[in-house]
Assembly symmetry: C2
DNA sequence: ATGAAAGCGCTAACAG
DNA sequence: CTGTTAGCGCTTTCAT
């Protein structure tokens, strides 16, 4: 493997000059530059990131923490992150935590060991205490799920307002018996979306019913199926369901179909996220579109900014209600 | 940031000894070992991968090339790869090429620049010439899609046989008019699956019909929708469709439903891959299960083996026909 | 069992 | 404009 020394020797210059050419410094005479560039080509030389990274004490790697790679919600965000990262010569290490603290810790170690320059955390179940501690020494951004009091900059949407608009839509098309399929209340977004649900109902004088609110442990398809069974079994059956995730909503859709009921005639369904599959279901799913790609680009820009030592502010992005066949 | 020097100084030993403790060498007296370990704890020392990697001239990073992160087929494979990688102290860099040679080249550069120790390529559209060239100097494995004559070790399934069994199943349940929804013939797996389709038909004395074979440019949901429209428009309409990817099959499912026909009564559908969503559709999809997780673990083991300098042999794994509601 | 020292490949401060 | 040189943090050979 040829190194910078050999290039220097061959070109008859010093390693410093080769390095200057490599880094596009303009303090090199064009004659020398050309000579060096030719030598590089002839020797098929590729500068080693290993040496450069040690010297610069950076890894040019960004860590992305997601709970599950199978959840398509994160895919668009990741694309956004990747786009910005690549354009700034960073690479991304995609880390699936399974919301498992041990696995999480393996990945945290990567930044402690200088293998990564910073973290974008999207795991709602992240150990926030550890994250706060890390954030004192390393660059960290939260994306989508966040903690207000942690001091860690975040990018997200206004969950309360989005949820409010989804439920208001159901009310406006005539529904009064609206169920909420929520995830675990320990997550901030779950609490915020429940608040939006409540506000919409209260504002229209619809009394809250505890039995119309179902919590699921995870955001998977099967959990939506199970949860909707409980909802359909309620005496005074709801005529509409707002699910806090498309995956839950799609599970609900399938189960409602299976039980012989019709969507939206018997039960209307609204999801949340606008994942790709939400337009592939039958019927297609009315849902809240999060600006996922944008969220990714913003998160990446914030992180790189922070790595460079700048102060960064949290950002709230806009959402959108997408009306489709399920309502 | 504390380094190995400071630990050595504080513990009253040499850096060599600290390094030995760090790497679990048994040539250190337990007294010294304990002293060093305590110092490490006290100083909150974390060894830098940057220094270690340069010294060992390795990055401990594995590159995974996939055409699209949105295709769930790859997700299980990736989990398998990740499992093995983590257990051997490797990390994986997930690289979406979009089947775009330029993006591909950015990632190839990573191994040229020592930022990655090897590559697992799953992109059918990979530039095989470049890959072959790279494989001479670096460790490379192909996974799922491969090239027989490239000399690059691969792990895959017997596509011809899998396809044969899928079509035979359709014949056995009474179908004679069977359409093939294939992807681009430039891919080996597409040609192999078409051969299996042909063999099944010939074996049962069913004549091949050119108009029953449709090619799609990509494996996306929408492409399945478009392709099935053409199939349904054929005069003597097929009563069954074998699609070479679940995503295509799911697109077909939706479009058939939309056109008022019933699956499987009017048209039976078989997919390929057994992605998670294939059990979430209505009806659920009969499909060929590839051992994706296993494929991932095998690929990772092969790659790590190769990085260590060993010879590795290609592997063909078993597949399975999963009967569900769509046939 | 331990230490001294070389060196992995690179960048940048300094000198000229 | 260019060269000399130190040093990033670590592992490992060679002495002792």
């Amino acid at each position: 493997m040829t190194n910078i020394q050999q290039v220097a020797k061959q070109a008859g210059v010093s390693v410093a000059t080769v390095s200057r050419v490599l880094n596009g410094q303009n303090t090199v005479s064009s004659k020398t530059r050309i000579k060096v560039e030719e030598t590089i080509k002839n020797l098929n030389y590729e500068p080693s990131m290993l040496g450069r990274n040690l010297r610069n004490s950076e890894s040019r790697i960004l860590l992305i923490l997601i709970p599950s790679i199978s959840n398509p919600f994160y895919l668009e965000i990741i694309k956004g992150i990747e786009h910005v990262a690549l354009s700034q010569n960073y690479n991304i290490l995609l880390c699936e935590t399974d919301s498992n603290p041990e696995k999480e810790n393996i990945y945290f170690d990567l930044v402690r060991k200088k293998m990564a320059d910073g973290i974008i955390s999207m795991d709602p179940a992240v150990n926030i205490e550890t994250l706060k501690e890390l954030a004192e020494k390393y660059s960290i951004i939260q994306c989508s799920e966040y903690n207000v009091d942690s001091g860690i900059p975040y990018v997200s949407i206004d969950n309360e307002e989005a949820s409010y608009r989804a439920v208001k839509h159901l009310i406006q098309i005539g529904h009064k018996k609206i169920a909420l399929m929520n995830s675990d209340e320990k997550f901030l977004y779950a609490r915020q979306r429940e608040m939006g649900y409540q506000r919409a109902l209260e504002e229209h004088g619809i009394p809250l019913r505890d039995d119309y609110i179902i919590y699921t442990k995870h955001l998977g398809f099967e959990h939506g199926q199970q949860a909707v069974k409980k909802i359909l079994a309620i005496q005074d059956r709801p005529t509409a369901i707002f699910a806090v995730s498309d995956l839950l909503a799609i599970g609900a859709l399938k189960e409602i179909n299976a039980s012989g009921l019709h969507v939206p005639n018997d039960v209307a369904v609204v999801g949340f996220d606008k994942i790709d599959f939400s337009s592939m279901t039958n019927p297609t799913l009315t849902t809240i579109a999060q600006p996922m790609y944008k969220m990714g680009t913003v998160a990446a820009e914030m992180l790189i900014d922070k790595i460079r030592g700048n102060e960064v502010d949290s950002v709230i992005l806009n959402h959108e209600l997408v009306l489709r066949e399920s309502t």
